[in-house]
């Protein structure tokens, strides 16, 4: 229920966080193994008396069992709603008394837990956190209350043009695969979930074989090792298998969902690239020039700065655990959106055919290499970056080598990748609104 802030830079940046992480900062990462055998990345930072701990369980809502869409989302929402003999209120009171902060969330690719706790009462905070992870109570009254909230959220999104466009795009690209529907589930699927479904979801999604942990703050390696064993030793060793990878279906068409609202919301995209792909960094650099979030991108210049057709237009490489896409978004008044889409298609085609200039490539490199170290500017941000890196199988030294990889890309590389990997014929649009003058 949070209002999204519209800062042009952040919108794309946040998405990028999932894959193109850390680089040349003064970050001293220690890779440690707890006595119980759990790997953790740690940055000691003793100047502020608290620790930020980031936990990931890979798989997330994509592990929903068939017919149980929304189970993992609802289960995650219940982790803080009571454990053992504590009900939801007891748990919240106990957490508040310690001034600890635990945030639980799920996405298509992971369950994420972000914890912050003070040094002075760390052990008590960890005991609470442990119970919420290992022994959530799933009390019936808590289930009903949280189910009501989830249903309310689902209802709230039903007519939100942004959410509608996201759903339409996902469904078109991924169909019955978990990526093809909203992880919250539908009114029907969530209404039908039972306590047994939630217990099963917990077992499937929160196991040690998919666990990634990082910590930054006022804590030593020994203390951290002891803590992670406390937190996770009692979880099952093995969870549900990961779903299959999926190829998104970009058909090159324009798909309109009619909806009576003044401004059409558009998603567009074509097939993408994975981080392991040798051409990934070339494509990543291309995208900075194309629509990578700043005012300087070609899409922002052509659609917003020159023509005033939109407040924001972005593109990004969505490298997810099970699928890759190169996607973007724009919104324009119903009578102007056709022109915005036409400009986007033209720019896509132009970059495909003629690539970028040496100056554009240099600007993109300077931006990416300069921006990278700036991400490492707080305990919370560093811990998040490290947890995501681990989940993507990136080595610690990626932080030091990432900028070199970007510098190594040549103009020939990016322009070859533009020719080979950008595909205007596959560029597909999804529109929610009452667009005027769309040709197909």
């Amino acid at each position: 229920m949070k209002m999204t802030a519209f800062t042009r830079v952040l919108t794309a940046g946040v998405v990028a966080l999932g894959f193109a992480l850390p680089a040349a900062a003064k970050v001293d990462v220690q890779e440690i193994t707890s006595p119980g055998g759990i790997n953790v990345w740690l940055v000691e930072e003793h100047s502020i008396p608290f620790t930020a701990l980031e936990i990931r369980f890979k798989g997330g809502a994509s592990l929903d069992a068939p017919g149980k869409r929304g189970a993992i989302n609802l289960m995650t929402g219940l982790l803080e709603e009571g454990t053992g003999d504590m009900d939801a209120r007891d748990f919240t009171r106990a957490t508040e008394s310690l001034a600890a902060s635990f945030r639980y969330s799920s996405s298509d690719d992971a369950i994420s837990i972000s914890a912050k706790f003070l040094t002075e009462n760390r052990d008590q905070a960890i005991a609470l956190l442990r119970d919420s992870i290992v022994a959530p109570a799933f009390n019936d009254n808590a289930i009903e209350r949280v189910r009501g909230q989830v249903l309310s959220n689902i209802r709230s999104d039903v007519n939100d043009p942004n959410a509608m466009a996201g759903r339409a795009m996902a469904e078109m690209l991924y169909g019955d695969h978990p990526y093809g529907s909203d992880e919250s589930g539908t009114i029907e699927s969530v209404t039908a979930l039972t306590r047994d479904d939630l217990v099963a979801a917990h077992k499937a999604a929160m196991a040690r074989d998919r666990l990634y942990v990082s910590a930054v703050g006022d804590i030593t390696p020994d203390e951290l090792g002891r803590i992670v064993d406390t937190l996770f030793a009692d979880l099952p060793a093995k969870g549900a298998p990961m779903p299959d990878k999926v190829t998104p279906r970009f058909d090159g068409g324009t798909h309109v969902t009619d909806f009576d609202t003044p401004q059409s919301v558009v998603r567009f995209g074509q097939p993408g690239l994975a981080l392991e792909d040798p051409d990934f960094f070339a494509a990543y650099l291309l995208n900075v020039t194309l629509g990578g979030g700043g005012f300087e991108s070609r899409l922002m210049q052509e659609v917003r700065e020159k023509r005033g057709l939109t407040y924001g237009v972005y593109s990004y490489l969505a490298d997810r655990a099970l699928s890759q896409a190169w996607v973007g978004s724009v919104a324009s008044a119903n009578d102007r959106v056709a022109e915005a889409m036409s400009v986007i298609k033209d720019e896509w085609t132009k970059m495909h055919e003629t690539g970028v200039t040496p100056e554009e490539l240099q600007d993109a490199k300077t931006y990416l290499t300069g921006e990278y170290p700036l991400r490492f500017d707080g305990n919370g941000p560093i811990a998040r970056i490290m947890a995501n890196m681990q989940m993507m199988d990136m080595p610690v030294d990626y932080i030091n080598t990432r900028n070199d990889k970007i510098e190594a890309v040549t103009l020939d590389d990016v322009n070859r990748v533009a020719r080979e990997r950008m595909d205007p014929d596959k560029l597909t649009f999804v529109v929610v609104g009452r667009p005027q003058g769309l040709s197909n």
Partner: protein, 470 residues
């Protein structure tokens, strides 16, 4: 709050620090330049990064009637050409240096910021100082950027019935003060914003004696002071800057109620906002009491409304109480209830009122208050992890008439508030004759669209952030 900030700062024609570092933990220093520009430096040496912000004591509530949205329009236009830079140059240089930049406009201020490697600070200052006085606008800039802000209004407001509802409700709340007019502007006035309106606002308000510089990160205060003197110190003060005086609200003599219907609504709710006092310099006690009242009533799962209406009775799927005391002028204290399925809005409102009445009888749960105060204390520790947030805290407070001392004493003021003071504040403020109650409802009669299982709304977990970004 009606303090003569501009004049007060101009009178401080000193370039000596007038406040030293507040405490060992809070590495904040401050000084003023000869031309009246106030400077705040916050040190954080953990990462080689700096946040550079310039805040103007001018927001949408300082606009002239008839040109609503011009403060925000100008904020967009500030990224166009100057006498020395071509359009987009500043953002381009920031991006080339790996940084990020943006700007935002609120009722009481407009702010511009960049986040860059610490050694790029002088460059940022030069560019920001340049556009403070050398903006050059073409007719094409005006026409194109006006289209952009209208699309921005479409994104933020026209496409969202909840946002339209909040806008109408705010207009009903303030009869005379410009807090009732949206920051982004009324659409019919935005369509006619022109070059003259933008430049009038610029000339009136953009000057060093109406600005606050905040530099936060891996910097030394002395070095920042020298740089600021050299770069911003050269800019001329605006001798015609007037005290900030806005029309105030008349006595409210009747409860106000409104019903907003839209076919796009899928999750109806009730929102109530009471007029309430704001934080004032040297006088923050009432605001502190209201801040704690909001926490006690609806700030967490253990708060009173949540407990009674979500846990005990399951009347609501969501309740919240919200108060933002940091405003130049009179603000609001808000309650929201999103009813459970099958509960009508009027039943929900009645339950909310009955619960508030019960709270007034029961008084405060001392343990709950103690927990809230513990969390507030810890929040100060956690806050040190984000120097950008700290920069915003100081910049916005100073732009809204508070002082550095007020910012630094605020945590203590919060700790010092007693149960009696909170109850007294509650009795003063929770009066429906000084409130607006709004229902956001589904418009059953309107034509539906083809998506079969449709409807929308963001039950604002809190009143949507009252600022608009570039």
């Amino acid at each position: 709050m009606r303090k003569l900030i501009g004049a007060a700062v101009a009178a401080f024609a000193l370039s000596l620090p007038f406040t030293g570092p507040a405490s060992a933990d809070d590495k904040v220093s401050s000084f003023a330049l000869d031309n009246g520009m106030q400077v705040v430096v916050i040190e954080d040496h953990r990462a080689p990064v700096v946040v550079h912000m310039v805040w103007y004591r001018a927001g949408s509530a300082d606009e002239t009637p008839g040109v609503s949205g011009v403060a925000h329009f100008l904020e967009h236009l500030m990224f166009k050409a100057t006498e020395n830079m071509e359009a987009g140059h500043l953002s381009k240089v920031v991006a080339q240096n790996g940084g990020s930049d943006n700007a935002f406009t609120s009722f009481d201020y407009t702010a511009y910021f960049q986040r860059v490697a610490a050694d790029r600070l002088p460059l940022m200052m030069q560019m920001e100082a340049d556009r403070m006085v050398n903006l050059k606008l073409t007719p094409e800039d005006i026409a194109t950027e006006r289209d952009v802000i209208i699309e921005e209004r479409n994104v933020r407001v026209e496409n969202s019935p909840a946002a339209l509802f909040r806008e109408q409700k705010r207009a009903a709340q303030y009869l005379n003060h410009r807090y009732g007019i949206p920051i982004i502007g009324w659409r019919h006035e935005m369509e006619h914003l022109d070059r003259k309106a933008a430049l009038d606002f610029y000339k009136q308000f953009y000057a060093p004696n109406n600005a606050i510089l905040v530099v936060a990160g891996d910097v030394q205060p002395d070095a920042v002071h020298e740089l600021a003197k050299e770069i911003y110190g050269k800019l001329p003060a605006n001798p015609d800057l007037k005290p900030r005086a806005r029309p105030s609200e008349p006595r409210q003599m009747a409860e106000r109620r409104m019903i907003f219907r839209d076919p796009r609504v899928t999750q109806p709710y009730v929102s109530r906002s009471y007029m309430a006092p704001e934080r004032n310099p040297g006088d923050q006690k009432d605001a502190a009491a209201l801040t704690l009242l909001a926490s006690l009533l609806g700030g967490s799962p253990t708060a009173y409304l949540n407990q009674k209406l979500q846990y005990d009775s399951q009347t609501a799927v969501y309740t919240s109480a919200f108060y933002d005391g940091q405003n130049l002028d009179e603000t609001t204290f808000s309650l929201i209830i999103v009813p459970s399925e099958g509960v009508s809005l009027s039943d929900a409102e009645e339950a909310m009122d009955a619960t508030v009445a019960q709270f007034m009888k029961d008084g405060i749960d001392s343990e709950e208050l103690a927990r809230i105060k513990t969390q507030l204390k810890a929040a100060e520790i956690y806050a040190r992890d984000d120097v950008g947030d700290l920069a915003e805290r100081y910049g916005s407070a100073l732009a809204q008439g508070l002082t550095i001392e007020d910012v630094q004493s605020w945590p203590e003021v919060l700790q010092s508030v007693t149960e009696d003071e909170i109850m007294a504040a509650a009795r003063d403020v929770l009066n429906r004759d000084r409130a607006v109650t709004g229902y956001l409802m589904i418009d059953e009669k309107a034509p539906t669209h083809e998506t079969s299982d449709a409807p929308e709304v963001t039950p604002a977990s809190q009143p949507a952030s009252q600022k608009v970004t570039q």
